[in-house]
Symmetry: C2
Subunit: 325 residues, 2 copies
């Protein structure tokens, strides 16, 4: 009912709608309409109320509220349940908990900021207000060693969402960092709970430096990170980005569930900044120089080294020449 009220107000954004009209349309009393308006105001919607004229919507909150993400969302599974937080320790942490306690596939946990956001390999992830920080819970009927493919697909869905909603074309550094002008704009942290031959659940944590001004980046990230705002000179529509990501990703996810991996791999290759480049693969206690040649059927990186072709399931990659995007 709150959702329907919001739809009505948005249709007439800036114009008054009478309480009488709303109460008839929604099939509730005028007092009930008034109560829902109060709830929307508490969430940050700017709604003016005047005697005789009724209500008008004047301002949307710049928040990734469930209603904002779900308005017009064309997915079957992903994002049908949204848990929104103004601040949280880590969206992945809560999504893992939901995974362990039977929450439905496709649920997302989204927060305006994280105070203990994490990146890969236990690194901190700077997650202030203005970014997009969310975790998606999946229950894929795949084997554990196929999970990496779902991570790769998430990276290319994030590229597509950025193209479609911001007009910017990031490239992917294997396995799943998004770069713009050679700097990190988004990253993905995948966590799984699994048996040797069955995934229990998978949590895909997506972090996008969206509307973070360049000068707000911490000193240690200034040379290596960037944001959609910094690259585009204007704020991104964060809810539209999330919707677009969920829609692009759902297509790839459903194909993967049917063991159709070819399109997924092709799409990743198309978005890759990695293949054909000179790279250094950094492993615990070892660094390997070579040329990134391809990814294999499981998403592992194949690197031509002086010693021959080596395949890496994991590792931190350094691109050794400036890319020209």
């Amino acid at each position: 009912m709150k959702e329907m009220l919001l739809v009505s107000l948005k249709e007439q954004f800036g114009s008054f709608i009478s309480g009488e009209f709303l109460s008839q349309r929604l099939g509730v009393t005028r007092t009930a309409v008034w109560k829902q308006v109060q709830l929307l105001r508490e969430q940050g919607y700017g709604i003016e109320a005047l005697p005789r004229l009724g209500y008008r919507l004047l301002a949307l909150p710049d928040l990734l509220l469930p209603a904002e993400i779900q308005a017009g969302l064309k997915t079957e599974i992903l994002g049908r349940k949204v848990y929104h937080y103004h601040e949280i320790d880590s969206t992945n942490r809560l999504a893992r908990e939901l995974g362990g306690s039977g929450a439905p596939e496709g649920a997302i946990v989204i927060a305006e900021s994280q105070h203990s956001g994490r990146g890969r390999l236990e690194r901190k992830w700077f997650s202030p207000p203005g970014g997009i920080w969310f975790s998606l819970l999946l229950r894929p009927r795949l084997l554990p060693h196929q999970a990496q493919l779902l991570t790769l697909a998430a990276a290319s869905a994030a590229v597509q969402a950025t193209v479609l909603t911001c007009g910017l074309s990031p490239g992917i550094k294997w396995p799943n960092d998004l770069l713009l002008a050679g700097r990190k704009m988004a990253g993905i942290l995948t966590e799984v709970s699994a048996e040797m031959d069955m995934l229990h659940y998978l949590v895909l944590g997506v972090g996008v430096n969206a509307n973070i001004p360049a000068e707000a980046l911490p000193e240690e990230l200034k040379d290596t990170a960037t944001s959609l705002l910094a690259q585009n000179g204007r704020a991104a529509d964060r809810a539209a980005w999330v919707r677009s990501f969920l829609q692009c990703y759902e297509k790839q996810y459903l194909a993967a569930q049917n063991h159709e991996f070819a399109a997924l791999l092709a799409e990743w290759r198309r978005c890759s900044l990695t293949l054909g480049r000179k790279v250094t693969v950094c492993l615990p206690g070892r660094e390997v120089d070579g040329t990134a040649v391809d990814i294999d059927d499981y998403g592992a990186l194949q690197v031509r080294t002086p010693a021959g072709l080596e395949t890496f399931q994991a590792g931190e990659l350094r691109l050794r020449e400036k890319e020209d995007s």
Copy 2:
């Protein structure tokens, strides 16, 4: 102090020790000794107390209490912390919780019975009193795709423990079922929590049909399962089995942490009932017939089929000829 009291009583099993002697040896009052004796009695130790004569131990509880497992345990890490339950839903479930909340590596959760014990692929696991049901928490510094090796090592450590404490020689059906006379005597369920390039923790659930009479096996298992008691005609020393397993496994585990996998693989091959046998690999929606040739460096099974050599990371195996062990 309770442990020291128990050691003293066990040294003189069946003979009286005076309260005065115990109080001097332990450096506590005679009232304190009395209180500890009461606690031991509550755990099931049969201790007689007579005025002037003192205390004597007459019966040990047939329970896998921490003190019973740790008495004489020669390990550095494994089993240094034991959580014992008379009944639990599932030891793996609690061990996962401990894994997520920072419990120390090597901790074990052990229960006399499980009412929701699970095997691989979400199957129920019959876990009545008399069996050995425990889960070991590990935090290996290995990549997720190396986790299978730790499962294989657990299977061969379980073989060794059975040889050493029961004089029986089970064989391993890939990846980790222990068979005696062609029937399942023990199984291992490995669960991991991981990122794509880092294991958070690994839980190794070990289930052994130890002192379960053949006639107590449920109807649907009578043709496929057996127990140490049924095979040997006498009860196994369950605490000795667990100690032996932990000691054998710790050696292999520490080697694996140093990336020394060759001995581990060789040991598994030595205990295998699988290699050289005609097998059917059952996958979701597909069955593959062939001859099991070897395991690869990651513990995957290599099967020669009419179509060529196929490698299986996962799957349920059927051995197609009766083994002769």
